[in-house]
């Protein structure tokens, strides 16, 4: 296991957690002792839930990442760079994916915008071998916006606040990570 692959695995996990609420299977996975300890070390406190707890977590997820009423902080790049969907960042990310002959599977990501941070993390992970220059551009140029929404979610606390805090640190790592391009 090399560092890039380890970071890619984390990127995929964090991408998943941004793209979907916790379901029972996912939650049980995160509560597996070694994973729970590793996540706790990053400030992510995985909750044990009782009846209705998943609904509460889903409501927290909605309030943090979806809230279409202002006040939430959807981690979608164009919202934070241009205050709209489908900004120039979206176009560039489509180009980047295309340059690696990749595309975001809309069904798999629940129709999240291409510039949703979850998708960007998955794209970064997918490109570390096949198009490392794409991963490098993503890390160096297209992640800075994400600190603002994540900071807001972190301030709100809870499971997603912890996740947001860890993500901020993770993005900081990615931003200074260069994958060798071989050229």
């Amino acid at each position: 296991m090399n560092e890039a692959e380890s970071l890619a695995a984390v990127a995929r996990l964090f991408g998943d957690l941004l793209l979907a609420e916790l379901d029972e299977t996912r939650l049980q996975g995160l509560l597996e002792p070694r994973a729970r300890v590793a996540l706790a070390a990053l400030g992510i406190d995985v909750p044990e839930v009782r009846d209705g707890g998943l609904d509460e977590l889903a409501a927290d997820y909605h309030a943090a990442f979806l809230q279409p009423r202002g006040g939430g902080a959807p981690p979608v790049g164009s919202l934070w760079t241009e205050g709209r969907y489908e900004g120039a960042l979206t176009v560039r990310l489509r180009e980047l994916a295309k340059s690696a002959a990749l595309e975001v599977d809309p069904d798999a990501v629940r129709d999240a915008p291409v510039d949703h941070l979850g998708n960007v993390l998955h794209l970064w992970a997918a490109c570390i071998d096949r198009a490392p220059w794409v991963s490098n551009e993503l890390a160096a140029e297209h992640l800075a916006w994400a600190d603002a929404p994540l900071a807001r979610v972190e301030d709100a606390g809870g499971f997603y606040g912890g996740l947001a805090g860890a993500l901020r640190a993770f993005l900081n790592e990615l931003s200074v990570t260069r994958i060798p391009t071989g050229s």
Binding site: R12, W145, A169
Partner: protein, 948 residues
Amino acid sequence: MTSIEPDVVSSEMRTATGPVSTRRRFLKLGALLSAGVAGCSSSKKANEPLVDPADESVNEWKDRPPTVQESLGVWKKGVGVPYEASAPGVCALPGPGRKQRFPDPEKYADVETVHSMCQLCSTVCGITGIVKDGRIIKVEGNPADPNSRGKLCARGQAALNHQYHPERLLYPLKRVGPRGSGKWKRITWDEAYDEVAAKLREVQLSGKPEEFAFHQGRSRTKDAVANFLRAFGTNTHLNHRGLCSAARRAANLTSLFESDWDLGDYPNSKYILNFGSNMFEAHQGHVAGAQRVQRGRFENGAKFVTFDVRMSNTAGNSDEFFMPSPGTDGAVALGMAHTILSEDLYDAEFLEEWTNVSIDDLKSEMREYTPEWAESVSTVPAEDIARIAREFAAAAPQATTMCNRGSSAHVNGYWNDRAIVLLNALVGSVGKPGGFCWMFTGGYDKKRFPSPKGPSKPKTPSILADPPEFALSNVWNTMKVGEIVYWYLKTKRARIQVYMTYNIDSPLTWPETEVTRSVMLDEEAIGYHVCINPFFNETASMADLVLPWTTYMERWDVDARGAYNLKPYLSMRRPMVDALGEAKDVREIFPEIARRVGGSMAAAYPMQDMPEYMAEWVKNVPVAEDADETPMQYMERVGAYEDPDQRPYYTPYLKPLTEADLEGAVLDEETGIWTKDGKGVGIEREGGAVLGFRTPSRRFEIYSEFVQRTGRNQDTKDLTALANSKGKNRPAYHKGNEYDIYPWPKYSPIDEHQDMGDDQLVMTSFKWNVHNHGRTANLKWCSEIVHSNPAWIHPDTAKRMGLKDGDFVELTGHRSLYLAKLTPNLGLGSGEIEKRLRIAVWVTPAVHPRALAISNSLGHWEYTSVAKAKKGNQSVGGESAGMDRAGFRDPDWERNMWWEDRSGGDPKKWVKNRGNGWVQNTVLPIAADPISGQQAFHSTVVTVRKIT
């Protein structure tokens, strides 16, 4: 995945600047995940990325992966270009982030154009979307649309704000806490469909299909909605017509039967007499109408005279403008009628040949309505009333009236509009070039271009759709009385098991906000509420399930609006881009719900692929024989169709009957009416049989026996048989709600306006040229122009009340005495509205001294931060990596939303033109005209109390 060698990584990968332990923690987690611990890999399949190799449609390299050089070539095209340099639709604003390359010379390179139709107001103008890189970069008018002819108003220009709004609703939401508590979770469409279908099946099992109510605001998807409700079997299809144009429609139908919508032939007119229409800003069809009014004025020399209690942009741009007292337009019109009759300025031939009254009787009826009397009622000088009447008659037949909500939206609106319509008959301009015209169909010819066949209408009556107190609301068209729905539910005269709202914001735009709010939150009154909307509005906040609807730039329709060329036309709304997120159109939602409800509903709903369905709809659009295209391709290329060989719909009543028309027909020698199988087909005139008007008398009806009998709940089958167009009896359950409707035009004074106190005014309402009723305050380009709506008050009134510009007043709304007298069964009473409204005043001579004017459209408490004039949560504040945490980064909004109100609700700290405005409906009572059901938006007496 081909792995990168660890030694290469460790030797070349730079390490993080942060604490090494943090990176190690991530690496440790990554190692665990890679080993399959926690099942924490992708939600698709273990270790399978969500980003896949592209399919052939987007992959230039169909047979092989790209080489490194090819891949780098694509990548390099956009590397290093700053976001703002290529952001379309952002103005060149001052400040550090302003665009440096404006206008961008490459902006319109490599674009596609898609013709479609706007839907940000009721006018549905033809539009063209400029699409680049899969997104819309501009929307402009489509010159090929025969009605709007390439013009597009400010709302339509703000299409990008609507399409790419940062607070668009993109996923189905289900409430988690109590209704209205604001706690939601995202669910899948599958879950949403199943839940709605289960609720609808429960309604079916209850045996009360009418308790599934569908409530629409602006719907231009009429075929799909009708198919859905008919497939289910409910007639509780509610709309907003009672709040819009019911009185005007009823007045037109009384005289014409054939059509409820007059379309003045303005380009060919010499005189346009406008009673309270704000055509230049907000009239239905205003973009098409306004340009033709101006053409009539500047190319044909037409004079344009306006009566309005407020100086709208239309009034201010008229040749003459008068301010009558609120609700007295009918008196002014009757004063003119008196002048025309008493000075023998009428068209005797038209009156004798084509109306159903004698001139002597008409003179007798109008005898008391002298201009002096009209002045005493309206405050408009008698000499002006008489002069304008003479000018109007002299210009005839190239003369027409125009009216709309200004005269109609009163408790006496029906009477105002009947008096206005009468003027056209007096001068013989009915149906003439330059005169008072209409169309046999609203926009497109439904017989020539029928929508694909759907299920037939169910028989189950609905008290909510046809409340018994309102005599004429549903006897010609289904106008409904939308504003009474919540009152019926509140007083338990009806209950709804499943309430589906669609493109409606009734908590904001309906009268008596508190009634609407309390009923929508009451789970006894409304068992289950599913809201379909592109944004989270006030209605959504009171729903149980919210479904994200597409924008009009993402969906299909065939549509048209009242055709001002007096020729039917047809236009097509088509997707310019894919829907954002999981937004879906009802054309996709309805069949899926129907499928899951199953049984007869699934069988009845027409399940068709949408482009195929649209192609069937437009299959009769003719294309040239040598044209290498289908009708659908023609619509795609042009966007609209108008038959060049069709003549304008002038004087349809003079159309000669053919031998075939008369075969088997019988002539009634006394009335001159031709009937076939008991149904009217025409009328005998000198020179032969002609079609005549589509009324019981086959003439333009100034005197209406039909409305008189209908008011009394008497049988009218003999009359509607002769009309053979529209009209039917009121249903049996209307018995007990009889109402005496005078058959002639008359003036009907509003009781509560007669003895108002010194601290009382008549509150009127209006609409701005950048807003529609409840759906545009979220558009930042529009809201920057108009976001505040203080109460307009005349300087004389202000002086009397001790008010100055910027002062705050408290308004108390009073229910209508007039309505309490005429519709006592409703139990609305005549007291005060409990809630009060505190609002700033703007002192201006542009409003009648007896009136107080407040615009609608503003004062949202939901519907995005722009509509609320909130940049974001200021308490979060701070900067993160150069970004403002408090809100989305938007040069137009975050940095420039200068109108956010920082007063904290303290009137003394309020700064003029700050904030998002006030909701007039807080103190505006439910007030439905008992004849047509028209909501009286302009009649409410308010008590004004100064608070600062």
